[in-house]
Point group: D2
Chain length 343, copies 4
C-alpha cells in the first residue's frame, strides 16, 4: 500500500476543507495528507501543525504544482475554483472540487474544454449524495429497471436555519437546489430541459426579503417531472429525502429514521420516534467519507468516479436558469452545449 | 333513540350507493334506511328486499318528497345531482350528496343560491376525507397553530389501476384531484387562487392518450403553495398522503402503515413492511362510516357538518380551471363569486 | 331493521359501563339501550335520563329478567359477575360480560357448567383485543399458515401509570396480564400449560411494594413459548404490541404509528415521530365499537362470537397459576378440566 | 501520519480474517497490513500476494514476534486463541482478538491473569456491536440517565439459516447468544448473575435435534431482567434488535429500516417496506470498520477501547452457565472471580 499511497494537497481549509483534511488523515485508507493552502496562512499553518508531515503552502497554485502532491482537493470559495481547477488540469493532476465547479456555465465550459483538450478525465465534482448509501441504492434500483421506467421524483431539502443576514434567495437555488439538480440528473440519467421556481409566501423565520421555502419543478429530457421543496429555515433540523415514482412502484431514500427509535415521557401523552439529523455533517458525514475513499481508490487506478466536469457544468447551467425563473416566476428553458463537441 | 330516529332514503344504488345503504343498516346508530331509488328499478327492488322495512321508489323526486323520508343520501351520477339536490332544498330536507355537488360551477352556484334563499343550510357534500381520523387530526393540528403558519402541502394520490378504456385525462382532474382540492382548502382554510396542471410523460400502464400521472400546483389565497401528485394507474395499490410544511414543523397524514408489520421470506434476502391498501374502500371505509354517523348526528340536531355547498361549488370551480390548465399547461386563475352575496 | 332491533340492558355504569351505554346509543347499529342498573342508583338514573326511552332498574337481576330486555351487557365489578351471568343463563339471554368472567376458576367452571346444561351458548367474554383490526388480522395471518407454524410470541403491555396506593402486584397479573393470556391462546389456538412470572427490580414510579414491570413466560400446549412484558407505570402512555415469530416470517400488531407522523422543533435538533396513545380507550376504542357491533349482530342471528365462557374460564385458571408463580418465582403448571366433560 | 503508521499482522485468513485484511488495506486510515498467517499456508500466500508489501508467515507465533509487526489481529479458530493471545502479551503487543477470547472461562482467566501480570492492558475482544452506531448511541442514551434507570432489555437475534448438519444447539449459546450477553453487560454496565435458556418446540427448518429458536433470560446484578430470542434458521434474513425499557421511556436499536423504503406491485395489493439485511456482514460491516478504526487509533495512542479481556472472560463464563441451563432448563447462577484480585 505505502508504495503507491496517494499524496494529497487540500486548498481551502475553512470548515469544509479542515473537515476534509481530517478525513484524509483519520478516515481514508491509502492516502496521505501532505500539504494545505489557504489565504488565511495562519489558519493553514495551524492545521498543518496538527498532523505529522503536512506542509503549509501559501500559494495554492504552488501546491498544485508541487511534485510531492499527487492529487488535489479544492475546498476554496467558488470564485477561485476556475483558476485552481485549470491549474490542476495543466499539471495533469486529479482533483476533487467541491461544488460548484465554477461560478457560471461559461467558466464551467472553459474548464470542461481545457480538460477535454488535455485528453484525460481528471475532475470529480463534490456532489457527495451520489455516495450516500441510500441515494446510491436508489439510483441502482432505478437503473436496474425493477420498478419500470421512472416517471416522477419528489425531492425534499430542509435545513434548520440560515441566520446570516447576508443570505439571499438566489443562494437557495445555487447552494441548496443545486444538489437536487444533480440528484435529478443522477436518478433519471437525463438532462433537465426546463426549470420553474415558485415563490410561496415565506416563513417568518427567514431574513427579510428571502424567499424561503421555494418549490421548484424540473422537466427532464424524457418528459419526467421533478418536484422539489427547498426550505432552509425549517427550524427542525436537516432532512433530505428523494421519492422516486416509477411504473411499477415507488422508492424513498432518506427517511429520517437512521438513529434510535424511542418512546418518551411527554404531555399529555408520550411520543414515539427519533431525532432529525441536526445538520448536513451528521446526515452526510458517511457519504463524504465514502466519496473521499472512492476518489482516492479511483485516482490510484487512474480513473474518475462520481460527478464529472460535465455534471458540474450542467448543474451550473440549470441553476442559472433557475435564478432567472426565481426572478420571473416563469418556466425557463435550459440550454446546454453539445456534449460531444462542447459547442 | 327510536323516537327521533332519522329515516333515510338513498338515491342511486350502484356500488357506492349500495355500500351506503348497507352502512346505514349495519354500521350507523340512530338512523333507519326506509327507501331507495334507482333508474335500474330491479336493482333498487333487490336491494330493498334485502332489508326489513325498506321500500323501493321508482321516481327519485318522489322519494325526496315522501313524508316518511326525513333525510336523503344522493349517490346517483353527477349529472342528475342538481335536480335532486334542488328537490331536497324545496322539500326542506337534509341531504348528503356525493361529490361532485354538480357538473359545473354554474349549476353549483344555482344550488348554492337556492339553499341561501331557502334560508337554511341543508347540504353536506361527501368529501369523506374530512372524517378520516388522520386527515381530521392533521387539520386540527394545523388549525391549533402549534406548528406555526402553514406554508406548503404535498399531496399524494395513487390508485392501483383504471382499466376502463373510456377513461379520460380530464377525469383525473374532476374525480381524483378534486379530493386534493378539498384537502388544500380544508387544511389551509383558504381558497385556491391559481391552479397549474403539468403533464409528465405518461406511464405505459395508462390507456392510450391518458395523461397519468399528473402533477398539479395550487396557489392559496394567503400565498401558500400545494404540490399534488395524482397517479391512477400506479399498479401498487391505493396510497393517499398529505404532508403539511409549517413554520415550526411538518406533519404527514396517511403513511401506509396501518396494518401489520411483517418480515417475510424472500430472495435474496427477506423483506420487512406491510401491505398497501388495495382500494379506496379499504383505505377510507372507516372515514365513510364516521362521515355518515356525523351526518346522522348533525341532522338530528338540525345542523350541517363537513363540506358545505360552498365547498362543493368552490371545488368544482377549481377543477374547471384545472381542466383548462391540463389543456394549456399554463397556470389558470380561479374566479369565485363573492361568498356573501353569491354574485 | 327496527322490527328485530336488539333491546339491551347494561349492568354497572361506572366509567366502563357508561362508555358502553353511550356506545350502544351512538355508535352501534341495530341495538337500542332500554335499561341500566347500578348499585349507585342515582348514577344509573342520571345516565338513563340522558337518553330517550331508557329506564333505570335498581335490581340488576330484575333487569336481566325484564321482558323488554333482549340481551345484557355486564360491566359491574368482577365479584358479582357469577350471580349476574348465571341469571342471564337462567333467563336464556345473551350476555356480553366484561373480563374477568368470574373471580376464580372454580366459579368460572360453575358458570361454564350452567351454560352447558342450559344447552345453548349465550356468553361472550369482553376480550376486546380479538376485535382490534390489527390483532384480528394477525390471528388470521397466523391461522392462514402463510408464515408456517407459529413458534414464539412476544407481548408488550405498557400503561402510563397506576396512581392508586391500593394497587397490588397481583392486579397486574389478574387485570393486565390476563389480556396477554387471552392473546396467547387466541394466536396459537392452544392452551397454556405453564406460566412463570419474574419480578425484576421495580421502577421507582410504582407504589411501594408493587412489582412493576413484570416479565412472564407461557409455554403453550404445542411447545411454543410466549414472553410478556407488563409495565403499568411506564410513564409514557399506553403501548400494546404482539410480535409473532413463525417458521417463515414474523408479524407485529400494534406498533404505535396510527396517528400523524410529525417533525418538530426541539433541542438540539428536532424530532420525528408521533404520539403514543394516552390510554386504553384511545388505543382500543374502535375495538370496543367493533366488539359491540359484532356482539349485536351475532346475538340477532342467535350466535356467539369472540371469547367464549371456556376462554373466560381458561384465562382465569392461567392467572391463578400466574399469581402463585409471582409469589414463588417458579414455573407453575396450569390444570384445566376436560373441555368436553367439564370434569 | 506515515511516521507512526501502525503495522498490523493478521492471524487466520478464513472468511473473517480475509475480510479484516481487506478492511485494513482499503478502509482503515493510519494502519498498514504487513503480514498474514494461516495453517492453510497457500491461502495465506495468495492473500499476501494480492497486496503490496504483505508477507505470509507460516508460524503464527513468529508473526506475533516479528519486529515489523506492531499489533496483531486474531481471526483464527477459538481453540488456538489462548496460545496466540498469550504470545501477544509476552511480546507486549496490542491485539484485537475475535470472540470468543478463549474456549472456556478457565483459559480466559489464565489470559486475564497474564495480562494483569504484564502490567498493561493490551487486549480488545471483537464484540463489534459496541461500535455499531445505533448500539453505541443506545448505550450512551442509557448511560446519560435521560430515561432514568434501565429496567429491562429485550434482545432479538435472527439469522437466515445454518445449513451445516454439524451444527449443535450449544453453538447457538456460544456463538450467537454470546453477543447478547455482551450487549446486556454493555447496556446495563453490570454483570449477569443468572441465566436461563428455554427450549421451545423447534422450527422444522433446523437440523434434526437442534433447539432453534431459543429464549434466554438473564438477571443482572442490579435486578434488571433481559429477555433474548435467538433464532438462527429464521429463513428471512439477519435481524438484530435491542429494546431497552427504562423508568421514563424506551429505546430500540436496530430496527431493520436502514435501506430504501419502497412500495411495489404485489398480489392482491402491493407492499410497502424494505429489505432485511441478508447477513451479519451487511448489517455490521460498518461496525467492523469503525471497530478497526477505533482499535488502530487507540493502539497508536497506547490505549485499549471496546470490550476488554475481562469482558471476554465474563461473557465466556455466562455462556458456560447458559449451556448448563440449555441442558437442564433450569436457571443457572453465574460465578465470576473477583475483578480486582482475579481469585
Amino acid at each position: 500500500m505505502a508504495e503507491n499511497e496517494l499524496r494529497v494537497g487540500v486548498i481551502g481549509v475553512g470548515m469544509m476543507g479542515a473537515d476534509h483534511a481530517d478525513r484524509l488523515v483519520h478516515r481514508v485508507a491509502g492516502a496521505r495528507l501532505v500539504a494545505v493552502s489557504d489565504p488565511d496562512t495562519a489558519r493553514a499553518a495551524a492545521l498543518a501543525g496538527r498532523y505529522d508531515g503536512v506542509r503549509s503552502v501559501d500559494d495554492p497554485l504552488a501546491l498544485v504544482a508541487d511534485d510531492e502532491v499527487d492529487a488535489v482537493v479544492i475546498a476554496s470559495p467558488g470564485f477561485v475554483h476556475e483558476e485552481q481547477v485549470l491549474a490542476c488540469i495543466a499539471a495533469g493532476k486529479y482533483v476533487l472540487c467541491e461544488k460548484p465547479l465554477t461560478m457560471d456555465s461559461e467558466s464551467s465550459l472553459r474548464v470542461l474544454r481545457a480538460e477535454r483538450e488535455a485528453g484525460k478525465e481528471l475532475i470529480q465534482v463534490g456532489f457527495m449524495r451520489r455516495f450516500d448509501p441510500q441515494y446510491a441504492q436508489l439510483q441502482q434500483l432505478l437503473a436496474s429497471g425493477d420498478l419500470g421506467r421512472t416517471l416522477l421524483l419528489h425531492n425534499t431539502h430542509r435545513n434548520k436555519s440560515v441566520p446570516n443576514p447576508e443570505f439571499r434567495s438566489e443562494m437557495i437555488v445555487r447552494d441548496s437546489l443545486v444538489h437536487e439538480v444533480d440528484v435529478a440528473r443522477f436518478m433519471f440519467g437525463q438532462e433537465i430541459t426546463t426549470i420553474q421556481v415558485l415563490s410561496p409566501a415565506p416563513t417568518s423565520h427567514a431574513c427579510e426579503g428571502v424567499v424561503d421555502p421555494q418549490v421548484a419543478l424540473f422537466t427532464m429530457a424524457g418528459g419526467g417531472v421533478v418536484s422539489n421543496e427547498v426550505f432552509v429555515n425549517c427550524q427542525v433540523g436537516y432532512e433530505v429525502r428523494c421519492e422516486a415514482v416509477s411504473e411499477r412502484g415507488t422508492a424513498i431514500a432518506g427517511r429520517p429514521q437512521s438513529g434510535l427509535y424511542t418512546t418518551r415521557v411527554g404531555e399529555p401523552a408520550g411520543s414515539w420516534g427519533g431525532t432529525v439529523d441536526p445538520d448536513f455533517i451528521a446526515r452526510f458525514g458517511l457519504a463524504y467519507d465514502l466519496e473521499f475513499q472512492a476518489w482516492v481508490d479511483a485516482t490510484r487506478r487512474g480513473e474518475v468516479v462520481g460527478a464529472t466536469s460535465w455534471d458540474g457544468y450542467a448543474s451550473t447551467a440549470v441553476c442559472e436558469a433557475g435564478m432567472q425563473s426565481l426572478a420571473s416566476g416563469q418556466p425557463v428553458a435550459v440550454t446546454l452545449v453539445d456534449k460531444e463537441t462542447l459547442t
